[in-house]
């Protein structure tokens, strides 16, 4: 049995877990309820999103939670009985997270 390279994915999963645990609930409340309740105007929201600080915040909140989802979903799928996919499952999961990160970088860096 060789030492695994799993620590890479587990590090991203853990970082994503921490970021999601601390920041997602409040951000979700803002987009989900504060906006419809009229607490943030469309102009102000757009302005906020364009600020450098917010762009970094969004990059972190998109990328790391995606890696968190990828790792957890990969193992949960197997626990739920999904078999015989071999390398296709991790490829799909981590590939999606990498693609999402790339897209987020593209959107947020060149805004």
């Amino acid at each position: 049995m060789a030492k695994s390279n799993e620590p890479l994915w587990w590090s991203l999963f853990s970082a994503g877990g921490v970021v999601a645990a601390l920041f997602v609930p409040i951000t979700l409340i803002l987009t989900g309820f504060a906006v419809p309740a009229g607490k943030i105007s469309e102009e102000n929201m757009s302005e906020l999103i364009h600020s450098p600080l917010t762009r970094v915040y969004l990059l972190v909140l998109i990328s790391l939670p995606l890696f968190h989802w990828a790792h957890r979903f990969r193992y949960a799928a197997m626990d739920l009985g999904l078999k015989g996919l071999g390398a296709a499952l991790p490829l799909f999961c981590y590939g999606t997270a990498i693609a999402g990160t790339a897209m987020a970088l593209f959107f947020l860096v060149r805004m």
Partner: protein, 248 residues
């Protein structure tokens, strides 16, 4: 005391007689201070001498009498009838192990895994007996003491769905025992154990269900041991990637 009884529904498997297992019901006397093991011994002594099961110390230190009691892994010497009375009690062999006969499981896989993780002390520096003991402070002892409480009862394996689905998984007790020695200040074989536990079949198949810790009769907390090992390997891994010139 009134002649109260309680029903035990026991898994039977007699490969010499039948190809399929079945359940057999027994009425045993209900005593407030009896455990399931007492009931099984009553069955064997008085009702059905063919019932086969393992037990030894009957006081929770040998780890021999582990079985599924109403679907939960338990030491039958620690499962009191009064906690189930008056409902019937279903007794089955430990989950996720092959059944040899009745309530006896094949534990060779577990024993093999103990060997794989070198579950014994390998001193950093061998010294002759004349040089005296390997000294250790109370703080150093505290670091691994909890993991040394394991009695190899395999309840954690019977609780682990990962082991159930993937028998190649090294499992909770083996990893907890590897950690017991890795964290022992006298030990020097952490690198030897790393090949076994830092692999996919080692710590990385664990998804932290946590049931192993819940069922452990000695509060070893194997789930905690596994998560700590994940942190250890991850730290080592990043060091080897970012500073590859160091020792491997």
């Amino acid at each position: 005391m009134a002649d109260e009884t309680i029903t035990l529904e026991v898994f039977r498997y007699r490969p010499d007689e039948e190809s399929e297992p079945r359940y057999q019901r027994y009425e045993v006397p209900y005593r407030e201070d009896w455990v399931v093991l007492d009931a099984l011994n009553h069955i064997k002594d008085q009702l059905d001498g063919t019932l086969t099961f393992r037990w030894s110390c009957r006081m929770g230190v040998c780890g021999s009498c582990g079985m599924m009691v109403n679907g939960d892994p338990k030491l039958t010497c620690a499962a009191f009838l009064r906690d189930y009375y008056p409902e019937p009690i279903r007794v089955e062999p430990l989950n996720y192990f092959p059944v040899i006969c009745d309530l006896v499981i094949n534990m060779e896989d577990f024993l093999h895994k103990l060997g794989e993780v070198n579950a014994w002390l390998v001193p950093q520096q061998e010294k002759p007996v004349s040089d005296g003991e390997y000294l250790q402070t109370p703080a150093e002892l505290a670091h691994y003491k909890q993991f040394s409480m394991c009695i190899n009862c395999m309840l954690c394996y019977a609780a682990c769905p990962v082991y159930g689905h993937h028998p190649e998984f090294i499992g909770p007790a083996a990893i907890a025992l590897a950690q017991r020695y890795n964290l022992d200040s006298r030990d020097g074989a952490a690198e030897d154990r790393a090949e076994a536990i830092f692999s996919h079949e080692g710590i990385w198949q664990c998804t932290f269900v946590g049931d192993c810790t819940r069922v452990c009769p000695k509060d070893v907390d194997p789930a905690g041991a596994i998560q700590q090992a994940k942190v250890t390997h991850t730290t080592q891994w990043w060091k080897s990637v970012l500073m590859p010139w160091g020792n491997k």
